[in-house]
Amino acid sequence: MALCEINNVTKTYGEGAAQVHAVKDVTLTIEAGEFTAFVGPSGSGKTTLLNQVGCLDKPTSGSISIDGVGTSGLGDKALSQVRGDKIGFIFQSYNLIPVLTAAENVELALTLAKESGGRARAVELLNEVGLEGLADRRPNQLSGGQQQRVAVARALVKRPALVIADEPTANLDSASGTQILNLMRELNAKHGVTFLFSTHDPMVMEHARRIVVLRDGEVIEDRAGGEAISVSNVGVAAVKA
């Protein structure tokens, strides 16, 4: 069974003449262990689609299921539970809780997932992402790259089915960005965690094994990744489709 099934998902905003179809009738399957990038210009619907998958939002029509559990019909409490248990998030701006230390940030994810392990497990994961000795630093005492690593640790500490990363490298310099990507690829290989990215960054696309291209809310391309794609090629690919 696929890890995640997306069936005819549509998301519209607004009413009447101002209505926007952010996502139009998308159907996709995500298998466990994927390392997939969703690409497209702004307004293409990639963020919106991932929001649906990540249960941050509900589709206007269609259905999504994760691990065999349909998420579209769930109430807030259940949906929150799904997010807590099964989905890890990594954000462009790291989104760490500023009043908590690195370890506390990671531990919070465990608490919300109602899992045990506490600080010990948090520190373990921080070590794994290369932040030994920095467990008790606050986010404002860490560099951008370090903060993003904490975010990765936080996303992974609860062994989620899926990690959704929204422009994870956008605020990082290329060195840090590469480091993060390598880290994520390592974790993907080691633990089999599925990573879904939404990105503009060609470097990310380079690392991705599958690329889904979106435009105007529709999937226009869905292919294997790994090829070097230049910006201009995106336009070529669009013409080909």
Binding site: G84, F91, P98, L108, L112, R154
Partner: protein
């Protein structure tokens, strides 16, 4: 609980803002505690004055004894029958007899109608504490020692210890009697009613002066003053209607009821302060929610439910109320406790002292009554006020759409 821990850390985030917005609570709780304690203290002061000045816990007097004005007839007296005596000996911690009458007191300089209190020098101090009297044992005794004047009386008459005065009054049967007596002592009693105008005369002298065999008042101290109603009933049965009975509450309740009015006024005032505090706190939490929109989104993304977010912000508000309330409570309790040990001496500020008519006993010290409920209740109220104030902002926060929140600036 992790929510409380998180809430607490968030509170520490913007200390100055938190303190400012909760200042009204700090002050409100402080005023409430100190104010209520003063009012309770005034009540206690009134009760103290009544218990130790005129009425003790229960007083027996003739059934038709006038309750108002300066009339103190000695035509009806309270006979202490053997039955009454043995009852008093068995059921009270102390009892004493007094004879109250009004006489014209004349000195070289002045002539006035003044209340005279005939006392038993042995038992009077056991029932009416003389702790606040300036001369610990000034009570003259016997028929030749003379009388004691209170300080105000001596001042009015222009006499000192050692001078003589003439006291004129009607005897028990109605004849006019007048005697010249020396002023054996001048004392301050700490009780305004007496200190303004009163003469204390030993009962032996009263008996020969007024030709009375019995006193006009029998006053008693009980082991527990709250038993006074039960005691009144028992005595009514014994006295078969010849006696009127009053207890300490009868004599203090009018003034204490004024205290209730003051209490209500204070509560209203502080209520208004709490309202302002509530608005300030609501605003603070609202600002916090807006500033932390992204954080809220992240928490939701991490699996926190709407109720979780709601709980978080309610906890933050309540904690604010708790901290502010505690600050106010500690300050208020400290001041109140200090004043309870060190009452303000009105004698020292005589010019500003307040008298409430001639007939009311009012202590010369301002007491402050310290009690735990007076401290705890405002604290609880402040937590509740803060909690309620946070409801709207917390709901706002919890209703934020995670998808949008998470991307906010």
């Amino acid at each position: 609980m992790y929510l409380l821990k998180l809430a607490f850390k968030n509170l520490l985030r913007a200390k100055r803002r938190a303190l400012l917005s909760s200042a009204a609570i700090v002050l409100g709780v402080f005023y409430l505690i100190v104010g209520q304690s003063f009012i309770a203290g005034v009540d206690e002061g009134v009760i103290y004055g009544v218990v130790h000045g005129t009425t003790s816990h229960v007083t027996i007097r003739p059934a038709d004894y006038p309750t108002e004005g300066m009339d103190h007839p000695v035509d009806e007296l309270v006979e202490i029958t053997p039955a009454l005596r043995s009852w008093l000996d068995d059921n009270t911690t102390a009892w004493t007899a007094r004879t109250m009458f009004v006489g014209t007191v004349t000195s070289d300089k002045e002539s006035l109608r003044i209340r005279v209190i005939g006392y038993d020098p042995d038992t009077d101090p056991e029932v009416f504490s003389h702790a606040t009297w300036t001369e610990p044992d000034p009570l003259p005794r016997g028929t030749d020692a003379g009388v004691m004047l209170t300080s105000g009386t001596a001042g009015l008459l222009g006499v000192e210890k050692g001078d003589s005065i003439v006291i004129e009054a009607r005897t028990h049967k109605g004849a006019v009697n007048a005697i010249s007596v020396p002023v054996a002592a001048v004392s301050r009693t700490g009780n305004f009613m007496f200190d303004n105008a009163a003469v204390f005369m030993p009962d032996a002298l009263v008996t020969s002066f007024l030709r009375t065999q019995h006193p006009t008042h029998v006053s008693m101290r009980l082991t527990n003053r709250d038993n006074s109603s039960a005691v009144k009933e028992e005595l009514t049965a014994l006295g078969a209607g010849a006696w009127g009975l009053i207890d300490w509450w009868d004599d203090s309740k009018d003034l204490v009821e004024i205290g209730q009015i003051r209490r209500n006024a204070l509560n209203v005032l502080v209520g208004i302060m709490m309202l302002m505090a509530a608005m300030a706190i609501a605003n603070t939490i609202l600002m916090a929610a807006h500033e932390r929109t992204r954080e809220i989104g992240t928490l939701r993304a991490m699996g926190m439910s709407k109720n979780g977010v709601l709980g978080l912000f309610l906890a933050e508000g309540s904690l604010l109320g708790l901290v502010a309330g505690t600050l106010g409570a500690v300050g208020g309790a400290a001041l109140t406790w200090y004043l309870a040990q060190n009452p303000i001496d009105l004698n020292a500020m005589e010019g500003q002292a307040e008298t409430i008519g001639n007939d009311v006993a009012y202590s010369a010290f301002i007491y402050v009554a310290f009690s735990v409920p007076i401290v705890v209740v405002p604290l609880v109220i402040s937590i509740l006020v803060a909690l309620v104030a946070s409801i709207y902002p917390a709901r706002l926060a919890s209703n934020m759409e995670p998808a949008d929140a998470v991307r906010a600036e």
